[in-house]
Amino acid sequence: MNGQAWLLLLEGAWTTLWLCGIAISIGVVLGLGVALVRMAKIPFVDQILVLYISLARATPLVTFVLFLFLSAPMFGINMNRNTAAIVAMTLNTAAFNAEIWRAAFLSFSRDQREAALACGMTGGVFFRRIMLPQMITSSLPGLVNEMSFLIKGSPAIAVIGIVDLTRVTNRISAVTYEPLPPILCAALLYMLIISVLLKLQAMAEKKANRLAM
């Protein structure tokens, strides 16, 4: 592993990081949106969302990325590699996140809602000020789990030619003929990224202790 190899590795790490970062950010919010709409139990819309969640959760990410990238042109959509990867990862993670958010909705105490209504809050104010902050705290462990799964599953996007943190190790070993060092270095970088997430989770858990009444 010389300086050149490390540079390539860091480039791969950056690719993984920004693609996953965008997918996670949109996926967390989209998941909340899906959970919200599902709580409203709108006929037909609800069935479609259930179908989406089941399909997205059952499809391997690698299949999904490939399908999206290859089929988009057939529908007249011009998608470059990065966009296809982001869309696929977002739709995948949002489905898992939706279930995490929904669990938080379902377990939320009715008593707190009544206290909010009784002092004149509308449903919207109650959601923003009382429910959402607590849902974020209680869902964060599950959400962070899902984030780390996504990052570790992200090498799937190499299938459409993106040079991510795993793919780049092939390129390095193709020159050095030593496959093990770059793989181990990449593992180190993955751990580094995940450890930042775990730190976030620990902070949330500390805060969550307050919610235990």
Partner: protein, 256 residues
């Protein structure tokens, strides 16, 4: 809105409510003047809590009308339709409620719990809301714990914070739903003392309770519910020393 209505904090006329086949409230009539304390007694399942929860529309009565400070809740009479959520919230803001289980918001500190509604319902400036909250916490004896989170408080302390939270909206009436039933006996007194102070300050209160001593000492009216009917409604002296019905006599004997 007539003038006679305006002097009433709450006026309930012929209110009925069923859960499925079970009629929990039947033709409830009740008038509560401003500054009055009304105690609602009765055995469990008599409909006391449901009656209270209908007043601020947490339960929707099937028939009858409820006016809060002269304004009908649930129905927009001018427009001839049901109230929308926004109208309902505006009228609910004129009532305060104290629950058996305290129902504090656990992610907020004591003072934030009290400031929340004034800021986000009334649109009050934070400094002003904080000043009011500090005053109210002083009133209920919780100033020293104002930055604590609810999970660190005892039941009695939580309930006193909940009372301050209800007061923060300067409501026309405060509804107490068995405020001391979830407390251990040693903590009951501190909450009742706060409520006594409020009554002497002229707050209008409707209190569903099992605390006979409190009802006797503080109430202007005592109401007794049995199977969804008000079977007795009188001044506390008369209610406790010379009740009209055999049922109330029995109830009082058993609770002594």
């Amino acid at each position: 809105m007539s003038d006679s209505n305006a002097a009433l904090a709450v006026s309930i006329k012929r209110m009925s409510k069923s859960f499925g086949d079970i009629e929990v409230l039947r033709d409830i009539d009740l008038e509560v003047k401003k500054g009055e304390v009304v105690s609602v007694l009765g055995s469990s399942g008599s409909g006391k809590s449901t009656m209270l929860r209908c007043i601020n529309w947490l339960e929707v009565p099937d028939r009858g009308s409820i006016h809060i400070a002269g304004e009908r809740i649930g129905v927009n009479e001018a427009a001839g339709r049901k109230m929308n959520n926004k109208e309902l919230a505006t009228l609910r803001a004129k009532t305060g409620m104290v629950f058996q289980g305290f129902n504090l918001w656990p992610h907020l500190t004591v003072i934030q719990n009290v400031m929340e509604a004034p800021i986000y319902v009334k649109g009050m400036a934070k400094d002003q809301a904080r000043a009011i909250a500090e005053q109210l916490l002083e009133k209920v004896g919780m100033s020293e714990r104002k930055d604590a989170y609810p999970f660190t408080l005892s039941g009695g302390q939580k309930q006193r914070v909940a009372i301050a939270r209800a007061l923060a909206m300067s409501p026309e009436v405060i509804l107490f739903d068995e405020p001391t039933s979830a407390l251990d006996p040693e903590r009951v007194g501190e909450v009742l003392q706060v409520m006594k102070n409020l009554s002497s300050e002229g707050y209008t209160m409707i209190v569903v309770t099992h605390e006979m001593e409190f009802a006797r000492a503080v109430s202007d009216q005592v109401v007794f519910l049995e199977k969804g009917l008000i079977i007795e409604k009188s001044a506390p002296d008369k209610f406790f020393s010379n009740p009209e019905t055999e049922r109330v006599r029995k109830f009082l004997e058993l609770s002594n």
